[in-house]
């Protein structure tokens, strides 16, 4: 039988039951490979459930550092009988199946073209442990031990990880090491080790860090100066608020008094969450909320208020599959339009698109600067794929000389000196007016904030000219935003390219890989990664300079394309959508297939041209 052979380039998928303690064992597996200097990108594929339903952990091991989901599985660690049939089907021909052979299975339950490695895990556990919980937990460690032998993973690295994790807890450390060795020794005695798939020590991890996007975003909020956070639990953003709590407890306690330089409220709902964030920002503190699509829907009235009353606020949207409750534990990029135009009336909002945890950190911190400078809501459009999976990325960076830009805030001294204060007065021609914090001056600078229309001095006014004057200034402000949001990044092809491709956010790793594969097939593509909305002219120029441009996104309705066509003078007929929206992260294989098909069709020279 064919046996897949690969060194540092294969996919292992763990099929487990959720609530069985498999998550930490599986992450241990991924980390051990990282410690050997080999890049990995793991993904949790989990149900909206706490115990008993199927959950998967897919690890792509890739020497070149491609982090997108590859598609296909080379080694399936099948620990869940519920999903056996589907799991078996996913294995590539010549791939491997590792399973618990304690109970015999009929031959019909296997495939002829898959190499089977059966290990009586339950039997071993029952013989070794008497406590039912231990039997379950150590079963996970035992299979990691066995895999370390099968794949030639350095067991020393795993033991080192244990000793870091269980520092000072000697009993736990020893019992984990014992379980690990039990599995490893069994495999070495009973199986051909290594199998065809092997991990070989490398140096391709470098100084990269391994962190999930939600933690990185939370850290960005800490560095960006957020002091108030209000949130309501919702997958996949809850772990962001929880990470913010954790980092604040470590980094934001006044050493002298032991008191907190932050305030975090788990609110009663998303409406209150954004209300609190808006109230705090109105009063001069940097505040944010983290949520997902359903939360955005609930927040829209308040978002309109913040837009129209011009109050800074940062909203982190960790997108999931919509609409409605949709796919709570799957990923999509499907909130672009609902965020860009959130709320009734004429509104538009600033959006930022991080590609990975490193950019989550960077753009989260930048979001607070933009919100203060522009006095408007700013959305960080993360998603479940980036947010809830640990990803290898560049180290997080901060420049200590960086000072917070609190935007146009009139001070006591300026008011005292008699500077004219009109809350909605465009002094500098950039559409951004000065604001004051409550309590600044005894007799000057107070104003009334409202969602109703007003004149330049914040006086209630329903007259047409006052209204038009105000909303035209808001448009000027949006023009100013173009100069401040991060610019798109160009990835030029090595050879002259007829095709362009636009992509954003979590599509990035799959796209980078797809571009390389396509180039290998002679399809050269200039690519542009959009990082913010409103769109700069560079994007329209990019489209204008290519006959066809693919717009790659993870939603059904081509939301970025819609936004591009709506907001720029781009010729829509040049744009070809590549859309992936089944809730799984987009893969390089998918992009390559789609683009190759379209490109093939468009490379054929039309008959008319041949004739003429």
């Amino acid at each position: 039988m064919k046996q897949l052979q690969a060194i540092n380039d294969f996919v292992v998928k763990f099929s487990n039951v959720n609530g069985s303690g498999s998550a930490s064992a599986n992450e241990l597996f991924a980390r051990a490979i990282l410690r050997m200097g080999v890049p990995v990108s793991p993904r949790n594929i989990f149900p909206s459930n706490i115990q008993g339903l199927p959950t998967w952990y897919e690890v792509r091991i890739n020497e070149s550092g491609y982090q997108g989901r590859r598609g296909g599985v080379d080694l399936m660690v099948a620990m869940n009988p519920q999903t056996w049939d589907a799991d078996l089907k996913e294995i590539e021909s010549g791939g491997y199946l590792f399973y618990d052979s304690s109970k015999p299975l009929p031959k019909s339950k296997f495939r002829d073209d898959v190499n089977v490695v059966g290990m009586p895990l339950t039997e071993i556990c029952n013989a070794t442990y008497s406590d039912p919980r231990q039997r379950q937990l150590f079963k996970n460690i035992i299979y990691v031990g066995a895999l370390s032998a099968l794949l030639e993973i350095d067991a020393g690295e795993i033991e080192k990880l244990f000793s870091e994790q269980y520092k000072g807890k000697e009993a736990l450390l020893q019992s984990n090491i014992k379980a690990l060795r039990l599995g490893r020794d069994y495999a070495l005695q009973h199986f051909t080790c290594p199998a065809g798939l092997r991990v070989k020590r490398s140096s391709n991890v470098g100084n990269k860090v391994f962190i999930d996007g939600n933690s990185a975003t939370a850290l960005g909020a800490v560095y960006g100066g957020a002091t108030v956070c209000a949130w309501y639990p919702i997958t996949p953003s809850s772990s962001l608020a929880e990470a913010f709590i954790r980092y604040c407890q470590k980094l934001r306690v006044d050493p002298a008094s032991g008191k907190n330089r932050y305030a975090i409220i788990q609110a009663e709902d998303e409406l209150a969450s954004i209300g609190i964030a808006i109230g705090a920002n109105w009063n001069g503190a940097r505040a944010f909320t983290a949520t997902s699509g359903p939360g955005i829907s609930l927040m829209t009235e308040f978002i309109g208020l913040a837009y129209f009353a011009e109050i800074p606020v940062v909203i982190i949207d960790v997108q999931r599959g919509g609409p409605s409750t949709g796919m709570p534990t799957r990923t999509q990029q499907s909130d672009l339009l609902s965020c860009a135009y959130a709320s009734h009336g004429d509104t538009k909002h600033v959006l930022l698109f991080p590609e990975d945890p490193a950019e989550c950190f960077e753009l989260a911190a930048q979001a607070f600067e933009l919100a203060d400078r522009l006095q408007t809501p700013v959305f960080v459009m993360s998603d479940l794929d980036i947010g809830m999976n640990s990803r290898l990325c560049n180290p997080l960076q901060w420049d200590d000389t960086r000072a917070y830009d609190r935007g146009k805030v009139m001070t006591y001294a300026e008011l005292e000196a008699g500077k004219d204060f009109g809350r909605y007065l465009d002094v500098d021609g950039d559409g951004i007016a000065y604001r004051t914090y409550p309590g600044t001056h005894p007799t000057r600078g107070a104003y009334f904030t409202r969602g109703t229309t007003k004149d330049r001095y914040a006086r209630y006014s329903e007259t047409g000219p006052d209204y038009v004057d105000n909303v035209q200034r808001l448009l000027r402000k949006f023009e100013t935003a173009k100069t401040l949001v991060p610019k798109p990044l160009l990835y030029p092809a090595d050879k002259p390219a007829r095709f362009g491709a636009i992509f954003y956010g979590s599509t990035s790793p799959a796209m980078q890989e797809a571009l390389d594969v396509l180039a290998g097939r002679g399809i050269h593509i200039n690519a542009l990664r959009v990082r913010g909305f409103p769109f700069q002219d560079e994007i329209a120029d990019f489209v204008a300079s290519h006959p066809w441009v693919f717009v790659v996104e993870q939603n059904r309705d081509a939301q970025l394309k819609t936004l591009l066509v709506n907001e720029t003078k781009i010729n829509a007929s040049r744009l070809i959508s590549v859309l992936h929206y089944d809730g799984t992260p987009i893969t390089a294989r998918f992009i390559v297939d789609q683009i190759a098909q379209h490109a093939g069709a468009r490379t054929v020279v039309p008959l008319k041209k041949v004739a003429s």
């Binding site: 860090v209 209150a272 901060w398 200590d400 969602g451 109703t452």
Partner: protein, 351 residues
């Protein structure tokens, strides 16, 4: 309402308070509400209370939702920042504002539609969180701005101006506030300034969530026979359990009562509340008895007013969250931003 602008020049003999302001300095824009609206009396009571307490107007932030009552912050304290937010959501906006700067005084003004219907949830959670604020509901039992629909506090069996009888149970804001953990609960009547002003003063001095339900008749839509929120009805059924004097550390403010049984309660900030009992055995610090008494009197058709409940040792949200004494909005990157060296350490732990 009137279209005449208020004179900017004040009479030179107008009395000034200890911080140098006349009462006029606490006024706002001219009210656009109907002549005789109870809400304007409440605005006047807020002006009086802030003047008497020697509060600098700019140290107050006034927030509201949507509705007639929520328009009123424009009509008092013209030198304070005001925020007319969205319908029913004043509590959350105020909570955020309060977190950003613990040093200001927060006055939340709302109505019965704003707080008992669309905003019931936010009202509830703001009370149980113990946000340090004065929460005034200007309660008229009717939607005024949309012309006379019943609100959720309208009594069952009461009649609207168009003659419709309300068949739904009323929401008891006082009862809710007590259940939800408000640490200062009072009810008053916009037509009784002598009772209302000291209650607002005591609420301002209180640390924690202070709730005042003020029955405030709507002259346009709910002041007719058959209404239980009309001036006549409330005057007839008003049963005050006590009269209140507020004594700040500085001076006694009002003391024009006939002698009765007097209890003094010292609040957290040192201010003394002198309660003259009108109902025998009424102990405003006994949570369980207060709830029992109020249910009893409500069943008898009385509108009980006065300082109904007080926890003099209440704590507030900032103490629960253990926030620093410096307002969060005054912290800079120096206090807030961990340095690059810390980030390097974090990076190292992520390998």
């Amino acid at each position: 309402m009137t279209y005449l602008a208020k004179p900017r020049l004040h009479h030179p003999t107008l009395a000034k308070n200890k911080v140098g302001y006349t009462r006029r300095d606490y006024e706002g824009k001219i009210s656009t509400l109907c002549a005789g609206c109870g809400h304007d009396s409440i605005s006047a009571a807020i002006v009086q209370a802030c003047w008497e307490l020697n509060i600098e107007p700019h140290r107050v932030a006034k927030l509201s939702g949507i509705g007639c009552s929520s328009k009123t912050p424009d009509y008092f304290l013209g030198n304070s920042h005001g925020f007319n937010s969205v319908h029913g959501r004043m509590p959350s906006v105020l909570t955020g504002a309060n977190l950003a700067n613990r040093d200001l005084i927060y006055m939340g003004v709302s109505g019965d539609g704003d707080s008992a219907s669309i905003g019931l949830g936010q009202f509830a959670h703001c009370m149980r969180r113990g946000v340090n604020m004065v929460y005034i509901v200007e309660n008229n039992g009717v939607y005024g701005l949309t012309k006379g629909q019943f609100s959720a506090t309208a009594d069952k069996g009461s009649k609207s101006k168009r003659g419709v009888v309300n068949t739904e149970e009323p929401i008891d804001m006082i009862g809710l506030a007590l259940l939800l953990g408000a640490t200062f609960v009072a009810r008053s009547f916009s037509g009784d300034k002598r009772q209302l002003v000291p209650l607002i003063e005591a609420a301002i001095e209180h640390r924690g969530a202070a709730f005042i339900d003020v029955i405030s008749p709507c002259v346009a839509f709910n002041n007719h026979p058959g209404s239980t929120r009309s001036y006549d009805y409330v005057r007839e059924h008003n049963e005050a359990v006590n009269r209140l004097d507020v004594i700040t550390g500085r001076e006694e403010i009002t003391a024009d009562y006939a002698p009765g049984e007097v209890t003094e309660i010292t609040q957290h900030d040192g201010s003394v509340l002198r309660l003259r009992k009108l109902a025998s055995d009424y102990d405003a610090t006994d949570h369980v008895k207060v709830m029992h008494y109020l249910q009893q009197r409500a069943a008898a058709g009385e509108v009980v007013t006065g300082l109904l409940y007080l926890d003099p040792n209440a704590a507030d949200l900032h103490s629960y969250l253990n926030t620093v004494d410096t307002p969060l909005n005054q912290l800079t990157e120096r206090e807030l931003c961990p340095r690059a060296v810390t980030l390097d350490r974090i990076n190292a732990s992520l390998r």
